[in-house]
Amino acid sequence: MNHDLLQPETRAEALAMLAEYGADAKILAGGTAVVLLLQQKLIAPSVLVHLGRIAGLDGIRHEDDGLHLGPMTLLRDIERSPLVDEHFPALARACGSVGNVRIRNQATIGGCLAEADYASDPPAMLLALEAEVRLEKAAGVRILPVKDFSLGFYSTALDPDELITDIRIPPLPASSRTGYLRFKARSSEDRPCLSVAAVADLENGACADLRVAIGAATEAPVRLTEVEGLARGRALDDGLISEVADRYALQVEAIEDLRASAWYRRQMIRVFVRRALEGLRDGDR
């Protein structure tokens, strides 16, 4: 291959390299996306900046302001983390749904967010959890909510000279439940046709907060905040569930790909939003 492979040992070194090369550089995190794109000649950066030697970029920490995921944390480790299972079990499920076990042993949560593959599972869950990404460049730091980070089809707000250095998931009230469902229309080992990430804060059976994110069906994961707002203060009963499911099916602009037509996706959005909300009501954590 015709690129240079740079292997910084510290975060500062990496940032300096990104500042120097900018759009000519491509960050190599786990590699499952970048190495594939290089092999298929879909990208041809002059420089690869490999983050694998930098200490401290991985790790899962629970602090007062929520759960922190280092960007180089492997999806497999999030999948199996007792901390994640304790606080956000649906996130473990979402990360554990990606690809196959080998992919999850190599792919990182930061890389996953930065790649913005529309069929990938974690971004939809992070959107529903209202996670924030910490972006750092040589010149400074900024924080973006995931909804402002994932912009579209393989497109994010990440600047060429920026690194994701942390992902923070704010704590949820104790009365919250999380759920993650995905639907594979063809083989059981396929990329998903659709995923639904849901979070509900149910106090005495009424929704103090409802969040439903759709993934794999649109260019970027999406929530319909107006529809979610309809749930506030209401019981999560069949009537509300149907209403939310119907509106999502109507309003989400589903895409068409090899796995499903837009029409079928919409119908499945209705089915799986309903199933996800029923799951929350009936006891998903």
Partner: protein
């Protein structure tokens, strides 16, 4: 006795150690790496090719274009229909057709060279659909075939109109099966080396002698100057049954003048190199109220792709595989092979019977529902028995379709009540299917057996080991015939310079054909051993027998000589004998009447499926398969074939479809083109091997595959009352049919 025992594969140790010597592993000194420049257009004239800049790239050793062929030079044309060229000459006929070949020091350099080759095309109109292709005014692919019709195989049996006149009900339907791919995990690979006017090639192929013939033809050589060596394959499934990549590797090797050239396809290239025929099958049956079939008419349009390859033969074979194992007095089949601007199609596991059974077995259930009859009862009413006449006019013998059906219906619990509605949004149903296939009617297998003076036997065979356990099964036959322990038998080949002729390893013919050749060879070897032993044992040859590892006097067996000792005392290092077996047959090209096969391959399947009404997703809960094996040589290897075929069959049923847009394959990778994974298996999967005293060995390479799709479709009908005529059965198709309340036909 080793036959009937679950002997591990002879090279099982290498398989689990990862040291099996697949062709791709071969490294030869000075080996070059090849890449193919492929057409981006489905149909275009080649105006100009300029490869000068590419040839000048450091590290490029050889480039081949159409300029390398012509009078006095290499012959560009190959293939059984002589319509295919090593590289495109005057025009390209499908996206992906080879236009130029490069051999270089590394793959990277070869890739870079491809980018430097300039080709100017003039696009021509293209056609992809069989019905569009046979219309007046359609783009013509081959001047000799102005209607794009490669051929028309015909079967005429009885009086079709009279048959329909006798019917109380006539059912007419159309079924389709899409373009798909054999998808062996090991890609096509060929390594050629030219030396002193001879070509030696290592390649993953199911047909070493066909490859030898075609490569010799291209190079203008006597076939004896071409040596094809075939290591164990990483799967074949029909995709390696024809000449693919070998001519390209051979010509590059010739041009590289002595340095070996390795050509191995990427996964993406596999999809434009060989495919499974897309097909439309129109099937019409007449039936009496009591269930007796009176007539069947089938019209089949096979999408051949751009070149014939073996489609002429397959069209005719497919004609026989669209009828079904039934007693039907009046049958008419018209089987058309149509050229289109798509990659070349060839045999896919089950060769045409996978598509044929999809149609005739789905259709049988439609008939049973029209009559209000149980689908199993309808089949049993019409199924062929020993002594019945098939649509080719031949009398069928050693057929056990009833047993096959019973062997799957019983474990499924056919006819017994079961939970049909386990939840408000889930419905269950049961379905079954039966298939019949002929094997090659005319073919020949030869082998050689060489015994040495340590008592070890080497079997030389050109049967290809591709995971089915062919070499192990043949060794078991060898061992039993001679009375040797299996550990004393080694199998060598294929190597066309050493192992004798075999037609090919396909059509589930090996255990039967080569098995019989081995028996004959063993018998000849025993005769030679007896002749050798007579003077030493002091008797006439008539009084001697060979077996159990020794030659002995029949009337006093204690007077005996073990083979090793016999050879030593006779001053012989080795003793060699040959065996062969051949079958003849054939059907009339105008009527399809004659002898289609030495014996019939028979299989069945039954399943219980569940349909999720909310999503259309179909889950196969239980599946039972059965195949008639005649005699099982190795029960574990046989079971692997049987189970493996069912699992393979889940692919075309649910997920395998090449998606084409203007001739471009959109899903040429294993993420977008799915093959069955662990999680696609039914929770309950069983298979039975049926034997019969005195039966010939019947091959097992394909039989439980064709019933899978129709059995499942029949189960779906039983569950939700919808008939799905177009493969694959996707959740979306089922959902759409449920929503629209009908099958959309």
């Amino acid at each position: 006795m080793v036959i009937g025992r679950a002997v591990p594969m002879l090279d099982a140790g290498a398989r689990v150690r990862g040291t099996l010597p697949y062709a791709a592993n071969l490294r030869l000194p000075g080996m070059l790496h090849a890449r193919i420049l492929r057409s981006p257009y489905p149909h275009a004239r080649i105006i100009r090719i300029e490869a000068g800049e590419a040839a000048a790239l450091p590290g490029v050793a050889a480039i081949v274009t159409r300029d390398d062929f012509g009078p006095g030079g290499l012959n560009p044309v190959y293939g059984s229909a002589r319509d295919e060229t090593v590289v495109a000459i005057e025009r390209v006929r499908f996206v992906g057709e080879p236009v130029a070949l490069v051999a270089a020091e590394t793959e990277e350099i070869a890739e870079a060279a491809l980018e430097l080759i300039r080709v100017e095309y003039q696009e021509l109109p293209a056609v992809f659909d069989v019905f569009e292709a046979i219309k007046e005014g359609a783009p013509v692919l081959h001047p000799d075939f102005p209607a794009n019709l490669l051929g028309h195989a015909k079967l005429r049996h009885g009086d079709l109109e009279a048959g329909f006149a006798q019917a109380d009900e006539i059912i007419e339907e159309t079924y389709t099966s899409p373009l798909a791919q054999q998808t062996a995990l090991e890609q096509q690979v060929a390594i050629g080396q030219w030396r002193e006017g001879q070509l030696r090639m290592w390649t993953a192929t199911q047909s070493p002698f066909t490859v030898r013939r075609e490569v010799a033809h291209v190079l203008g050589l006597d076939p004896a100057r071409v040596q094809i060596i075939v290591p164990p394959l990483g799967g074949g499934f029909g995709g390696k049954g024809n000449v693919r990549t070998q001519p390209q590797a051979a010509v590059l090797a010739w041009k590289a003048g002595g340095r070996p050239v390795k050509l191995m396809l990427s996964r993406e290239e596999e999809f434009v190199t060989v495919t499974k025929h897309a097909v439309t099958i129109h099937i019409k049956s007449g039936v009496r109220r009591d269930g007796r079939l009176t007539a069947r008419q089938v019209e089949v349009h096979w999408n051949v792709g751009a070149y014939a390859s073996s489609s002429k033969h397959l069209m005719s074979a497919g004609m026989l595989r669209c009828i079904g194992p039934y007693r039907i007095p009046n049958v008419k089949v018209d089987s058309y092979g149509v050229y289109t601007n798509l990659p070349t199609a060839a045999a896919y596991r089950g060769a045409m019977s996978s598509q044929g059974a999809w149609a005739h077995e789905s259709h049988m259930d439609s008939i049973s529902h029209r009559l209000g009859m149980d689908p199993l009862a309808l089949r049993l009413q019409n199924i062929l028995h020993d002594g019945d006449q098939f649509a080719t006019g031949e009398t069928v013998h050693d057929v056990h379709f009833v047993r096959c059906l019973e062997a799957v219906a019983a474990p499924i619990g056919w006819g017994e009540p079961f939970e049909r509605e386990p939840a408000p949004h889930r419905r269950r149903g049961r379905g079954l299917a039966v298939m019949m296939k002929h094997t090659l009617s005319s073919s020949r297998s030869e082998c050689a057996l060489e015994l040495d003076n340590t008592g070890r036997l080497t079997l030389y065979t050109s049967s290809v080991e591709m995971g089915q356990g062919a070499h192990t099964a043949l060794a078991q036959i060898c061992a039993d015939e001679l009375g040797l322990p299996i550990a004393a038998v080694a199998v060598s080949g294929p190597d066309t310079a050493v192992s004798p002729y075999d037609t090919q390893t396909a059509s589930s013919r090996t255990a039967f054909m080569m098995g019989n050749a081995v028996r004959n060879g063993a018998s000849a070897l025993k005769d030679k051993l007896i002749e050798l032993a007579a003077p030493l044992l002091g008797g006439s040859p008539e009084g001697l027998a060979a077996g159990h590892g020794l030659v002995f006097i029949q009337t006093s067996p204690d007077s005996c000589l073990p083979y090793a000792e016999l050879l030593k005392r006779s001053g012989k290092g080795t003793l060699k004998a040959e065996g062969s077996f051949q079958t003849e047959g054939g059907i009339d090209p105008e009527t399809g009447q004659g002898v289609a096969t030495p014996h019939w391959h028979q299989g069945a399947g039954a399943c219980e499926v569940e349909v999720d009404l909310d999503t259309g997703k179909v889950t196969v809960l239980r599946y039972h398969a059965a195949a008639f094996a005649g005699k099982v040589i190795n029960p574990e290897l046989a079971r692997l074939q049987n189970d493996g075929n069912v699992i393979y069959g889940l692919g075309p049923t649910f997920m395998e479809q090449m998606v084409v847009d203007s001739g471009q394959i959109l899903n040429a990778n294993l993420s977008d083109y799915r093959i069955p994974s662990f999680l696609d298996l039914p929770s309950e999967l069983g298979s039975a091997l049926l034997e019969s005293e005195g039966s010939q060995i019947h091959g097992l390479g394909e039989m439980t595959l064709p019933p899978v799709a129709p059995a499942i479709a029949n189960g779906i009908y039983d569950a939700v009352g919808l008939r799905l005529p177009d493969l694959p059965i996707t959740s979306e198709k089922v959902f759409r049919a449920l929503v629209e309340g009908h099958d959309g036909r």
